[in-house]
Amino acid sequence: MGEAAKTVIFEIERRDSTDKESYFEKFELPYRANMNVISALMEIRRNPVNMEGKKTTPVNWDMNCLEEVCGACSMIINGKARQSCTALVDQLEQPIRLQPMKTFPVVRDLVVDRSRMFDSLKKVKAWVPIDGTHDLGEGPRMPERKRQWAYELSKCMTCGVCLEACPNVNDKSDFIGAAPLSQVRLMNAHPTGAMNRDERLNAIMGEGGLASCGNSQNCVESCPKGIPLTTSIAALNRETTVQMFRNFFGSDHAV
């Protein structure tokens, strides 16, 4: 035995409900090999006692897949937005500071409401419309190399990290952020989706759309899936430049 048991200290920004002020609470937990932020939060939930030894309410957070594909457990860990399931305690500086992504409305503790991202996906028509009153048959083929390229864009899990990192997504602006913009590029790359490409381009040329990007490029640096978000934005910039002239002068190549 000899040496003192190793512990991990967490400092968590908590909020009891949407209308309450936030406060920090510290927790000290026994260290376990290979623990991550979620397993630590589970430990706090099992035994919600803070560093002063007082019993407190268990910390609330969102999680689902536990393997960085669902995007639900995003939070700010030591200042940077990322997923808590892949945040290994061994790689973090202590005390580990957990905060909710306050770009979004905070529901409770570390739980945020990412609805605005899903609303943005609706706004930019991030889907391929295939429904008709009769069978429309197969769509045009997609070249395999293009499919592989588009697959990278499809990895987006709407986790909200790119919005949290973006200096232009805040309560003074209605910028939709990088994630839904990149989805426009994905849907426009699809051979069937491309049949409505002008509708999506016009949608992102609206308020809070593409033009609100200030090219700080934090999104591409922060994206946990390594999606080339800034390349998507620049590519859409080129397409909307053309679309702008098509809208103004009219064109035989509307689609």
Binding site: N170, M205, A211, S216, N218, T230, A234, A235, T240, T241
Partner: protein, 203 residues
Amino acid sequence: MDNREFLLRRLHSLLGIIPLGIFLTQHLIVNHFATQGVEAFNNASHFLANLPFVIFLEIFVIYLPIMYHAFYGVYIAFTSKHNPGHYSYLRNILFTAQRYTGVFLVVFIAWHVFETRFQVAIGNAAEADFNMMANILDNPWMFAFYVAGVLTATFHLANGLWSFLVTWGITQSEKAQRYTTYFTLVVFIVLSVIGIRALLAFV
């Protein structure tokens, strides 16, 4: 029209390079005549001040574009939340610097125009000549203010050129954007050297 913001932002980006970027480059190059002596500078300055239709050139090529770029730019600067502390990536630092230099330049250019062109307009000075600038730059604080003004202006132009190329979709790939970063760094250095050499010639 619901794409008003899109058009306003594109106009802001365009005006920053054409005509303002071209004007700044021209202005710094003409200033450089000061290194060839009093007469060379005065001749160049006299030539520009007496161009035909000079007042229309000034209004449409300088005053209106710069006022739009300045006022809309200040609005843009104050609608972002800067976070280079936690996200200290090069592009984010430059993003923040672009906004700080922009706000500083509004103050600097307003003062610079007041001290030079405006004094000529209200008849306090016959012409914006070498002596006028030499008198202004005689004060070491003013000299420092002008050095800061030149450096922020050349930075703002060089970095603005980079984002202009992205905003209009000319540079898309990560590699294209990286190489443009190197290119705009060269633009910044060259314009800064020209600008600072001219300032030094007045003292």
